[in-house]
């Protein structure tokens, strides 16, 4: 959280520096006025790589064989490709307001460990470890951004820093009840399909990042962006409560840039 706060401060600072006309300039010799942007609409379409949200774990208990069974699910949120499209419009001097959409979909292999009481004996639980493939996470985020253009001497280059709120919607496959099969004499158990569910949740987070573009022509170019967009949300837990899950993360990528 500290790192993300620092990132916000940096981005906001950069934006402030980029936008402000320093007061001290009045005492200095006049400098040639940098060209003001004449384009007012900016569009970026990027292929991104999301470094991966933080893994998370969930655990639950349930009564079994006159004792309490426990299971723990460790969800490994793999890094992977994301897609992002954003557009912004200049509203004042070098300040633009924009909106972007990003989507991240990835498998979340899940390692399950369980302890299931023996039907005939107290305190002799059978243990189970199982890797479940096929669980997915899908993140869809809408980012509202204040974008500040950093003045550049090279007219082919364009740099923006931005930040703002993000509205995240997440769909995550989860294990609600571990499955196992057993047969006499029940001294061991083997994995079996458990009860799974797909839980969805929405929450507001934030985004902040920087974008550098090179325009081959007046309107078309390529660019790269690095941003952090994320939040922490409470997903339904197998225990009946909630489990805090970090959504989003650091993303970097590049793609097409258009300006009009």
């Amino acid at each position: 959280m500290r790192r993300t706060t620092a990132l916000v401060v940096i981005v906001v600072g950069l934006a402030a520096v980029a936008i402000a006309n320093p007061a001290s300039a009045q005492t200095r010799p006049p400098v040639p006025r940098r060209p003001q942007p004449t384009d007012r609409i900016f569009i970026s379409v990027d292929g991104m790589y999301q470094a991966g949200s933080e893994n998370f774990t969930d655990s639950a208990t349930f009564p079994a064989n006159a004792e309490t069974a426990t299971f723990n699910s460790a969800y490994d949120v793999k890094p992977g490709p994301a897609f992002s499209i954003a557009g912004s419009g200049l509203v004042w001097r070098q300040l633009a307001i924009g909106i972007g959409v990003s989507r991240f979909s990835r498998e979340t292999p899940t390692a399950v460990t369980a302890s299931i009481p023996h039907p005939f004996f107290f305190n002799q639980p059978r243990s189970l470890t199982e890797d479940i493939a096929g669980f997915h996470r899908e993140e869809l985020a809408v980012h509202v951004q204040a974008r500040a253009m950093v003045p550049m001497s090279n007219r082919h280059m364009q740099t923006m820093v931005y930040g703002g709120p993000s509205f995240f919607s997440v769909k995550q496959d989860v294990l609600n009840r571990v499955g196992y099969s057993e047969t006499y004499p029940y001294d061991s158990i083997t994995p079996a399909p458990g009860q799974t569910a797909s839980v969805s949740k929405s929450k507001v987070g934030f985004n902040a990042g920087a974008d550098v573009a090179y325009f081959f022509t007046r309107q078309v170019g390529v660019g790269g962006t690095a941003q952090y967009a994320g939040t922490t949300m409470a997903l339904s837990s197998a225990s009946g409560g909630t489990v805090d899950v970090k959504v989003g993360g650091f993303q970097a990528g590049g793609g097409l840039r258009l300006r009009f």
Binding site: F120, T183, Y184
Partner: protein
């Protein structure tokens, strides 16, 4: 001609369907009769089919809440083959029907001649990785479509669960499969006689729980005589049937009757021992039902028990091989006399619940194993060996399930030490049989005629052999030393005695036979000159048996 061809096809199809057992049969007859008019009609229908042999009485029970009623359960048969699930239940008073419910098939025409042999059916039902818990049985199965098929059914256990499977008796194709791990199985808890908390595998039935273990391969039922000694006597001595209402029950699955808790749990644990240690499936190695009976008397009522029954039903546990439903055998466990002291083998002791000692429970179950295997005659030396094998397996089960020690619920070489308390706990010692007046040497054997030639006395000789072969030591009479295999290797000696007593001994065995067969078993299992062979040989020599 146009009419003849379809008719011929229809007749042909009908004949073919008869041949291969695919006949589309008329729908089932559902019987629900509670009014006088309906009862007259349906009672006549049921009686007529009963007379024709199509319905046969499966059981007749009295409901304790309506003791003047008899509930008959009738099973439908087609040419001697049961129709799966087709039953009629008739409740009557003095032969007059009060209600009739059921669903049966109308008279069937399906062939009862399977193309598949029983061995083929076993192979198909076993599958690639399973084994059969129940032998295949021929039946007529009604499919969801209403078709009826001649089918083999069996219960298969595999890594994926326990399933009842039906296969077409003509083609071997699978027709139906469902889990036999019945959802109403439940694990309850209870406290045994020594206050220990344990689990009991039971069945939920309506709003209550009954001591009917459906999780183990054999049917394991504990009957509660509820202090009704005349009834217990009738069941044991006069072959009276046990009813479903006799099964021990509890309302909340937290069982509070110690003898029931112990008997039900320990019979299961003894089955587990035989399965895990020796690969044996219960009494007859074919999962014959296990029946336990408790509470023939209440502990506090011991003094009012007729003297001739005191030694059998109160201060005793026994195996009755010909008792129980279908004569499968019953293990009976007396309740003892609580705090009342007795002089037992010259020792002042109290006698508690006989089911409260796991070695006693295993002892009685082992009598059933002996009955189904060597059949050791319960007289003189073979009788002593019979008793001894029960003691040996009793101690083995105790060491298998309990921690080693000398306290309550701990494993040692005393027998019945959790039941016989005070002075010397237990009623026999394998380590030192003389503690309870039993011989530790063949030269001291009882040669009289009481107790079937001293079967409970002379068992001390081979009991001591078992002890010496494991633990080693010196026989107090001969002074001969034995190098045992060590407690860590007790499994070896258990397997030696199991093989000898179950497979190698003849019914009229002598101690000398027992020496020969145990030495042979040790060679068979561990090789000539092995530590178990040496230990067993030395032990028999030490007790004077050659």
């Amino acid at each position: 001609m146009n009419r003849i061809i379809p008719a011929a096809i229809a007749i042909g199809a009908f004949l073919v369907s008869l041949e291969v057992g695919l006949a589309q049969q008329p729908p089932a007859v559902f019987i629900k009769a509670t009014s006088v008019a309906d009862l007259r009609t349906w009672d006549g229908y049921v009686t007529a089919r009963e007379r024709a042999g199509e319905l046969q009485v499966l059981s007749a029970e009295r409901d304790p809440s309506l003791p003047d009623r008899v509930v008959e359960r009738l099973q439908q048969y087609h040419q001697g083959v049961p129709v799966w699930g087709a039953q009629v239940v008739r409740d009557s008073t003095d032969g007059v029907a009060e209600s009739i419910f059921g669903a049966v098939s109308p008279p069937l025409t399906i062939s009862t001649e399977p193309r598949l042999s029983m061995s083929d059916a076993q192979r198909v039902l076993t599958g690639d990785s399973g084994f059969l818990l129940r032998q295949p049985q021929l039946t007529v199965l009604t499919l969801e479509s209403g078709d009826r098929r001649l089918a083999y059914t069996g219960v298969q256990s595999s890594d994926t669960g326990v399933f009842r499977i039906f296969i077409d008796a003509q083609t071997g194709a699978e027709l139906l499969r469902y889990s036999e791990i019945e959802t109403q199985s439940a694990i309850g808890t209870g406290r045994g006689a020594i206050g220990d908390r344990k689990k009991v595998s039971v069945t939920q039935q309506g709003g209550a729980y009954v001591a009917d273990d459906k999780m183990r391969p054999p049917k394991l039922t504990t009957y509660d005589m509820r202090g009704d000694l005349p009834r217990a006597f009738q069941v044991v001595d006069q072959g009276a049937p046990l009813f479903a209402s006799d099964i021990a029950s509890d309302s909340d699955n937290d069982w509070t009757d110690p003898p029931t808790v112990d008997a039900h749990a320990y019979v299961g644990l003894t089955y587990d021992y035989y399965f895990k240690r020796h690969g044996r499936r219960g009494l007859d190695d074919r999962d014959r039902p296990l029946v336990a009976m408790v509470n023939g008397t209440r502990q506090q009522d011991w003094a009012s028990t007729p003297p001739q029954l005191l030694g059998l039903f109160v201060l005793n546990a026994f195996w009755c091989g010909a008792c129980g439903p279908g004569n499968v055998g019953v293990m009976y466990f007396g309740n003892g006399a609580g705090p009342q002291g007795f002089i037992v083998n010259g020792v002042q002791q109290t006698i508690g619940y006989f089911s409260g000692s796991i070695d006693i429970v295993a002892h009685e179950l082992t009598h059933g194993v002996t009955q189904s295997s060597s059949g050791l005659i319960y007289l003189n030396e073979s009788g002593a060996l019979n008793e001894s094998f029960s003691d040996i397996m009793g101690a083995s089960v105790e060491f298998f399930h309990q921690p080693v020690g000398s306290g309550l619920g701990q494993a040692d070489y005393l027998l019945g030490e959790d039941t016989f308390r005070g002075g010397l706990n237990g009623n026999r010692s394998m380590e030192n049989p003389a503690l309870f007046g039993d011989p530790d040497h063949y030269s001291k054997r009882f040669t009289g005629t009481t107790d079937n030639g001293g079967v409970h006395t002379n068992s001390g000789i081979s009991n001591h052999v078992f002890y010496l072969a494991i633990e080693g030591g010196t026989n107090r009479t001969s002074g001969l030393a034995v190098q045992g295999v060590g407690a860590a290797n007790r499994e070896q000696i258990e397997k030696v005695f199991y093989r000898a007593f179950v497979f190698l001994l003849p019914a009229n065995a002598t101690f000398s036979n027992a020496r020969g067969t145990t030495i042979q078993a040790a060679r068979d299992l561990y090789g000539a000159g092995s530590a178990p062979e040496r230990a067993v040989t030395q032990a028999w020599t030490a007790v004077g048996v050659n």
